[in-house]
Symmetry: C2
Subunit: 386 residues, 2 copies
């Protein structure tokens, strides 16, 4: 298997409601940590790929200038919730093609100063015009899964219990309390059958990674990265929203990396809502269609289980600052593959996968999905194989 | 000189206030024209790079889905006024590295439904906090040029007269009336010394280009493309805002293409305000520092002069829909180099340059500048050399 790039350093802020901190200051914190972690200087950075959804125009430039990063190409990408994994993806491509030697990818989002409730599709889209906010769209998927596959309320709640349980061990997570199944089900209904504790929170945060060419000692290896936009999707589609795009993107990423789903030791996936993780684990190949509810209930994806999913706490516990989420997922898998994940470490994690899915446009099966396969640093791999 | 890519087709909407047309419909018009012009089918497109500043999240996906363009990577870039030339730049890089065979680049902006006056930097930036809208920033540059270099009111006005004169021959331009010097100077003062007819208008429009590898017969050749962000800039800087970034970016683009400024037959440059074109023509190497006012007054950059600048009418006459502007400039130079520019054709144009500069962030010499050097199709070049 060939490699696209090396992740030489990562950084994130704490996640949560921190409306008093300007976007640029959040970015400084994440970018500084990544640069220090990579043991580079700002002057080595050849280009920057940033991700944000609702950031002000120029947010990346504004974030970087006072770090002394200027003059170089700065490309800011909007790709819904996959914005910063899209920035990561473009950064990897720019490294693997030999265009740049050192690339900074970062994601930034400050939501709590601008939003107070659910995010809705724009009002010129049919869903937006009808008042279907994102929780309503996921609620419909959940109801359909209950009807078609017998997914239970408890199975949905199990995703929340698992991820909040993981997030308890993540000092940067927005929510660090682990509820019980009953507490999840007794929390207020947001969009039936989804209750409050099954919905991610809006947050303010930044996350960053430094990318360099393959072969840098000690760095996490990017084996593959795939980015797709969704095909047309409507009431005639056989699968719920977001299934096919994740399956197609994952298949491409696995193939490029020469791995299969069962080879992967740890996943960070897009659990914006509990049903999202159930659908996604199926689409990623961890369970058959319709079996995702039973999968999570079995403990297979819990820390200590065979293939832990969202050891960071995921979007449900860490929080979901849209444009920062993708690189926060990358950071978690990097820490896992370096053995730096502390109390939430997956033992001997060697291969990790990040999946981010961004939606919001009516009539397509997701605006974008990115799946990347990462491998532990060569040195660490050699040790664990010895 | 090597080539990065071939521009096989371009398209734009009409420019102007058309708030009743949704963004996606403007995009359809420009993208359809580009696809037909390139004689490809939507299914051939491997990836899309879009540019927008204030477009809704998902605007690119929303624009493309009903054209049947889905599934492929769609990357939406914000880079201030250089957003769609940034999309073009990334598209060219993705072709030249062999990543994709056929790329769609497009820019989309619908401003008149959201804005009614001048655009201001965000209020957390010092300029924004002090109420310095973009015309005020350019007005200060103009005042400084008058003080330092003796640029006259008439020289400033000459840019407007020239570009509106060119735009009279552009059926897609927002403003198709050509004022006199007196009319320009007698129009209302916006930010002294700049008057209304020296300021570009907000507009709604889209523009697109289809990119393929070098060597496609009949296509315009992309000899080089350079993208830089601005260095730190403040009251200690010797040159006015936007001079150095354009000079640096142009130097890199000329060098990569193996050309010099005097080799170029036709330019499209960022004349958001009259002083902008004066500064830019200097930075591009058409005049010494401080001599840009005399250059335009001499007729050197008028159609029929030695090196025409903004034959399309530029931002002043065509209008300035931020994220669509860069690819509209590209489209104009493509038409010029193919001999398709009608009454505004620069005779035997063989080499053309597009320059776009985007600002809005305090303390940097522009968020981004893109300069690209384009050459006439090989077949046409052979004919004109014969």
């Amino acid at each position: 298997m060939s490699e696209l790039a090396t992740i030489c350093g990562v950084g994130t802020t704490k996640f949560g409601k921190q409306p008093e901190i300007p976007a640029r200051e959040l970015a400084w914190e994440a970018v500084s940590e990544a640069i220090l972690d990579a043991a580079i200087t700002p002057g080595q950075i050849d280009a920057v790929f940033a991700g944000t959804v609702f950031g002000d125009p120029g947010v990346a430039t504004r974030s970087l200038q006072q770090l002394g990063i200027s003059g170089v190409p700065i490309i800011t990408i909007e790709n819904a919730c996959a914005s910063s994994t899209s920035a990561f993806h473009e950064g990897c491509a720019s490294i693997s093609s030999g265009r740049y030697e050192t690339v900074l990818a970062f994601g930034i989002e400050t939501m709590t100063a601008s939003f107070s409730g659910a995010i809705s599709p724009i009002s010129s889209d049919p869903e937006g015009a009808q008042g279907f906010a994102m929780p309503a769209l996921y609620g419909m998927s959940a109801a359909r899964y209950q009807h078609e596959f017998g997914v239970t309320d408890e199975q949905l709640a199990a995703v929340s219990v698992k991820n909040h349980g993981h997030g308890r061990h993540n000092p940067r997570a927005q929510h660090q309390k682990a509820p019980t199944i009953d507490q999840v089900l007794e929390s207020p209904v947001i969009s039936s059958p989804l209750t409050l504790l099954q919905c991610c929170s809006i947050a303010d945060a930044a996350a960053a990674a430094v990318l360099r060419p393959p072969g840098i000692p000690g760095g996490v290896r990017v084996l593959s990265s795939s980015l797709k936009s969704g095909g047309l999707w409507d009431q005639r589609s056989e699968l719920v929203w977001g299934w096919q795009i994740v399956a197609d993107t994952a298949r491409a990423a696995y193939e490029e990396a020469g791995v299969s789903a069962l080879d992967i030791d740890v996943f960070e996936v897009h659990d914006a809502f509990t049903i999202g993780e159930i659908v996604t684990t199926e689409a990623l190949g961890l369970a058959e269609l319709g079996a995702g509810g039973r999968l999570v209930e079995s403990g297979y994806t819990t820390l200590g289980g065979n293939q832990p999913v969202n050891p960071s706490g995921g979007l449900l516990s860490r929080g979901h600052p849209l444009g920062a989420t993708g690189l926060a997922q990358i950071a978690e898998i990097v820490w896992q593959l370096r053995g730096d994940a502390g109390a939430r470490q997956v033992p001997d994690a060697r291969l990790g996968v990040v999946e981010t899915m961004g939606g919001g446009t009516a009539g397509v099966d997701g605006n974008a999905c990115v799946v990347t396969v990462l491998e532990t640093p060569a040195s660490r791999n050699a040790i664990s194989a010895a």
